[in-house]
Structures are given as C-alpha cells and as structure tokens.
C-alpha cells in the first residue's frame, strides 16, 4: 500500500533536500530519540543555529520525518512501497535511499514502541500463596480449618514496569477446587474445534 502524505506534511519535509546528507542522518537520530524519550527545545535551537534557519523549520522537519517513519512502520510498508510513497515528494535518489535505510534500520524498534502504547487491563504478574491451618481462636479452641491465602500481583496495565497492584485473597479448599476447575474449563476452550478454526484463519 502507498502512504498518502498531506500537503502540510509535504511542505514540512520539503526542508530535507536543502541540507546535506549528514544533517539528514542527524535528524534521523533526533527522531529516534524523540520516539524513545521525547525531545527538548534546546535540541531544535542548537540545530537551527548551526543551519541558520528558523527553529520552526527544523522542528517541522524533524516532526515530519518522525511521522513518515511512524506511518511506514505502522503499516509495515515494504521497501518498494516506501520508495513509491517518498517518490511523490520529489527528492533525489540519494535522499530516498537514506530515508529507506533509516526506515529499515529502525522499523522493528518503532513497532515495539508502538505496541506498548494502547492501554490495557491490569494483567497477571505473580501469584504467591500459603496454606495454613487455623487451630484455635480467641473464642474457640481445638479447631481445624484449612485456609489458602494468596497475594495476586497485577501490572497496572499501561506500563509493565510500573508498580504492581496487589490483591490479598483467602479461600477454603472447596472454593479453591472450584476455582481450579473453572480455570481449567477456560483453558480447555482454546482446544475446541471452533477456537482452533479461528486461530488457523488468523495465522
């Protein structure tokens, strides 16, 4: 598929052929840093001073390049498609090759950053458990009550490295058996022919 670039985007990228190839490489590096860590105005100001152009032009150039990389990675463009999409900008062959190399080198990194973006539900991280037997309490001596105490650690959804939320649960053995059988039923649902047919078609 081909990327359709808006007029504004083409205008922003029109800055790129006016500088040399080393600067384009530098812009590529700034773009990747932007995607990984965000950017600061100082970087733009420094580049603008060195190239003697206004700061907005530098900023638009970097952002235009970043958007081009993002959209290409998002749609998993092949080399041919990428070159065709960039052709419309009217750059010379060398610049096209540089952009292509930049795209190919960073494609998988960009995709992994993009895959972390959508927020998701808290997901399982760890389950600690202990099995206790209550022998006596203040009101009643000589008891035998088995109990399972669990601490369920969940990630907080959007970032797998942030703090975990923990839930403390307690259950008796019969509820535990019921819990196990329900979860095993859920696992068995993957093996039904209906589910297998769908998985085969996705692959």
């Amino acid at each position: 598929m081909l990327l359709v670039l808006s007029e504004e985007h083409k205008l922003h990228l029109a800055f790129l052929p006016k500088v040399d190839t080393k600067v384009v490489g530098e812009f590529g590096r700034i773009t990747m840093e932007f995607l990984r860590r965000g950017t600061s105005p100082k970087i733009y100001e420094g580049a603008a001073r060195k190239l003697c152009v206004p700061v907005e032009i530098v900023q638009h150039g970097v952002e235009g390049l970043m958007f081009l990389m993002l959209e290409s990675s998002k749609h998993m463009l092949t080399e041919v498609d990428f070159l065709d999409s960039v052709l419309v900008l009217g750059f010379d062959e060398e610049l096209n090759q540089i952009l292509l190399q930049l795209y190919l080198k960073h494609r998988s990194q960009i995709r992994s950053i993009l895959s972390h973006l959508p927020s998701s539900l808290p997901s399982y991280h760890n389950l600690e458990w202990r099995l206790d037997v209550q022998l006596a309490s203040r009101s009643c001596c000589q008891q035998v009550i088995p109990m399972l105490t669990m601490r369920l650690l969940l990630t907080r959804g959007y970032d797998s490295h942030s703090d975990y939320s923990s839930r403390v649960l307690q259950t008796d053995p019969s509820t535990l058996l019921y819990l196990i059988s329900t979860l095993e039923e859920a696992l068995a649902a993957i093996k039904t022919s209906h589910a297998r047919r769908i998985l085969r078609n996705i692959k």
Binding site: E128, R130, L135, A136, T149, S166, R167
Partner: protein
C-alpha cells in the same frame, strides 16, 4: 515424563531448550556460574561482570546469558522447593540431557547450599502484616478535664507492622487500660502456650 524437581509435573519446554545451551559451557565454568546463581538466590548479590566473563568463552549473547541464569535459578529453587535430594536431581538432569560432569558440579553446589536455600525460601514465603517491633510505656493519669482525681495507670503500645495489603510499614498506637491489658495478656499467653505445644 514426570520429574520430581518440577513437582511431579512435566519439565517446561524452555528448561529443556536451555539445558542444551548450558551444555555448551565447560564444566568448570558451569560450576562457577552455579555459584553465582546461588549467591543471587540467597540475596548475596550476583556479579554480572563475572557471569559475562564466564560465558564469554562459549560466545553467549546477552539472551543466552539471561536464559542460562534463568534456567539455573529455576532448577535450584524448584529442587529446593520440592525437597529433592541431590542424587535424584542428578539422575533427572542427566535424563534431560545435561552432560555428566555438568550435572555432578551442579548437584555438588546444590547439596552444599541446600539447607541455606530452603531457609531463604521459608523466609520469603508469603506473610501478611509482619510485626516488626513493639514498644510500650506505662503512664499514670493524675487528673483530667472530666474528673479531678483519676489516679489510674494506662499503657501506650506502639506496634510497627507491615500493612497487609500495601506491604509498607504502618504504625499503630493504642492506649490500653489496666484491666483490658490484663485480658489481652492472658489471651496472648494462651496463644503462646498453644504455639509452644506445636513446636
């Protein structure tokens, strides 16, 4: 195939795969790697530079290094968890394809640190709201805004415990009158007698 060190379950596929990675190391380096992994499991700190140097000969990439540390951690902690003796561990690992010299080195390290590992695992078992410290003070109330002559002893108890849900330190301060405190003490002594009977 059921393995005792996996808790009488099948051995996970990734463990099988990484055992062949471990076999690429020489048995001497393997023994040193085991020592490092045991130090990590006992919370003595693992020296990643040493690990990198040990695996450099076999040209392990960073993924292989992480995998071999993970598989050794799994074998040690799982074997200690199910209280497997070192001969059974040795025969099971050889069944999985780990060469004999590697297995002997691994099992020797396991046997040395077996009880220390079990103690450490016992300590880190789930415990909610662990009591850290108790401090107390006995006051004597002379008088108050309600009554001119009160003349009563009162105890202030400060309990520092880990919160059950949050896991962070929580401080609770309670003041207990003499009668209530006598009841509290009697009940706690009963509980202590029960605990001593169990030991």
């Amino acid at each position: 195939m059921r393995f005792r060190f996996c808790g009488d379950l099948d051995c996970p596929d990734w463990v099988l795969a990484e055992i062949s990675t471990l076999a690429k190391l020489s048995s001497v380096k393997m023994k040193l790697l085991c020592a490092q992994v045991l130090k990590d499991l006992l919370d003595e700190g693992i020296d990643y530079d040493k690990v990198t140097k040990l695996t450099a000969d076999a040209k392990f990439e960073s993924g292989d290094i992480k995998a071999s540390v993970a598989v050794l951690s799994f074998i040690f902690s799982s074997a200690a968890k199910h209280d497997v003796d070192s001969e059974s561990l040795s025969s099971e690992l050889q069944q999985l394809g780990l060469p004999k010299e590697h297995t002997t080195g691994l099992c020797k390290s396991y046997e040395d640190k077996h009880s220390a590992l079990q103690d450490k695992l016992r300590e880190t078992s789930l415990r909610l709201g662990r009591l850290e410290s108790v401090s107390w003070r006995v006051d004597y109330t002379l008088s108050s805004s309600e009554l001119m002559e009160v003349n009563e002893p009162i105890i202030q108890l400060k309990l520092e415990a880990q919160g059950a849900e949050s896991g962070s330190r929580e401080t609770t301060v309670v003041s207990v009158s003499a009668d209530k405190f006598r009841v509290l003490l009697a009940e706690l002594k009963q509980a202590q007698a029960m605990m001593n009977a169990l030991q």
